[in-house]
């Protein structure tokens, strides 16, 4: 009779471990569940299908290059070795590589980063800045070779011959490209002299454009104090950089068109303002001239007339006075009075003329100060009596039912006196 061999737990575990370790370099497909990222950087989860579950460990040194985020429910394919953890007696897959199933890995990473940055508000429309119309200095971050920079420069120079462009040459694909682009954006910001940046590259595959889908580029664009125009690939290619940029141009040439207005258009626009500015005043110049003429001729005449009326009244009053009843006694008094009136009138007229002269001088000065573009007054109107079109200087010149024409700066109306 053979005595059964008794094994210790460690012994049997060691034997089982040996068997299990034969599952080396296996590919396993399954759904992730109970995913726990540990603060140490290690990741623990289960892989399952309809019938079974297997524990999995994805250690830090293996998972640090993972391009996407693991989530429960995700279908994945893992590569690794099956091992037994003696302390718990559990077997598990030690994963050394993982790929998403179905969706390509880059696509998945793109979607995940897009989702994350969107949540963080990096794509918010509200933070998108307006581009300057007339940037003094334009920064272009792209490869110094190839069609992109050529297209951009051609368009920029065609639109605005005297332009200041600085190219920051960067690698636009391959290892380190994203970091170079991000660094360039930072550099241009630190420089402080740029008004707008174009960041881009030509078309290519998702892999070729990848640098512009990297988080580091997205963050650099987001942090940029200078408005950024993205111009990556062709019209149909959308990158993360496009979502974060202040403006997305469908192509590099389009980016160049967006960053600077056409100089000829601007010149025309300014000229149009000049025409409006002067036309408006010039159109009213005639009215102003009429006002001046009115003051020169009629205003002065009216002033004199009024003074003469006062004088006449005084004379007629004087005629009724006792001086005429007793001429001999009062004649000299009257003469003296007339002399006084005369000198008063002379002074009054003198003052009047002086005042009118000053007024005219002021008005003339205003007109002349704005020559040669001619000026215009505002807020005055001229009333003419119809049908003879006589300029009306006093309300007393009009009576009920008279027809008048009133000239305003920008038109005339006809009216009747009530």
């Amino acid at each position: 009779m053979q005595t059964p061999k008794i094994l210790t737990v460690s012994e049997i575990t060691k034997q089982i471990k040996g068997l299990i370790q034969q599952f080396e370099g296996v590919w396993i497909e399954g759904e992730v569940s109970n995913f726990v990222p540990h603060s140490s950087g290690h990741m623990y989860f289960s892989l399952k299908d309809e019938k079974s579950v297997i524990r999995a460990a994805f250690f830090k040194n293996a998972n640090q290059h993972l391009k996407f985020k693991i989530q429960d429910g995700m279908k994945v394919v893992v590569h690794g070795n099956v091992d037994l953890y003696e302390k718990s007696g559990q077997y598990q897959v030690i994963v050394d590589n993982m790929e998403p199933k179905g969706l390509g890995m880059l696509q998945l990473r793109f979607e995940q980063l897009k989702e994350q940055l969107k949540k963080e508000g990096l794509f918010d429309q509200a933070r998108k800045r307006k581009l300057p119309i007339l940037p003094k200095k334009i920064g272009v971050i792209t490869s110094p070779t190839g069609a992109v920079i050529r297209d951009i420069l051609n368009v920029l120079q065609r639109r605005f011959p005297n332009i200041h462009v600085v190219l920051n040459p960067v690698k636009v694909q391959g290892d380190g490209a994203a970091e170079e682009v991000a660094e360039a954006i930072k550099y241009m910001n630190e420089d402080g002299s740029f008004d707008v940046l174009i960041v881009g590259r030509g078309g290519g595959s998702l892999e070729d454009l990848w640098a512009f889908n990297e988080e580091v580029v997205a963050r650099a664009i987001f942090s940029s104090k200078i408005p950024v125009v993205s111009a990556v690939g062709h019209e149909i290619d959308f990158t993360i950089a496009d979502f974060v940029a202040d403006l997305r141009a469908p192509t590099p040439s389009a980016a160049a068109e967006l960053v600077i207005a056409n100089k000829t258009d601007l010149i025309e626009k300014i000229r149009a303002y000049e025409v409006r500015l002067t036309n408006d005043l010039t159109n009213k110049y005639q009215t102003y001239k009429e006002k001046l003429d009115w003051i020169r001729k009629s205003g002065l005449a009216m002033g004199l007339k009024r003074t003469l009326e006062i004088f006449k009244e005084r004379i007629s009053n004087a005629a009724k006075s006792p001086a005429f009843l007793r001429p001999k006694e009062k004649i000299s008094q009257l003469k003296q009075e007339v002399d006084e009136y005369e000198s008063k009138l002379a002074i009054t007229i003198g003052h009047f003329l002086e005042n009118r002269r000053n007024e005219i001088k002021v008005l003339q000065g205003k007109v002349e100060s704005l020559n040669p573009l001619k000026i215009l007054e505002r807020g005055y109107s001229v009333t003419l009596k119809l049908p003879e079109k006589k300029i009306i200087k006093s309300a007393s010149e009009l009576k009920k039912n008279d027809e008048i024409e009133v000239k305003f700066a920008n038109g005339t109306i006809n009216a009747m006196i009530k």
Partner: protein, 84 residues
């Protein structure tokens, strides 16, 4: 307003406001003249701005570590190999 600090687009907007105000015709003579003078200043400013920038196409020069060491003129048709 300081001409040095003012941006072209700000000047253009101000100019538009002035023209609109003048054309609305409901301001007094003194204001009108003032606006006109301001408008002419802005016009001069905008026109000057258009020619202010000198044409310059440059490329940053970097050392092997990627650090910018200076700038030089960038020729559009320059042999691409020389630039790398």
């Amino acid at each position: 307003m300081s001409d040095k600090e003012m941006k072209f687009e700000v000047a253009l907007t101000k100019l538009e406001e002035i023209v609109d105000k003048l054309e609305s015709g409901d301001i007094g003579l003194d204001d009108s003249l003032k606006h006109y003078e301001d408008g002419m200043k802005l016009l001069k400013f905008c026109t000057a701005k258009l020619d202010e920038v000198e044409k310059k196409i440059e490329i940053l020069v970097k050392d092997k570590g990627g650090k910018v060491t200076g700038t030089k003129t960038f020729k559009n048709d320059e042999d691409s190999d020389k630039l790398l």
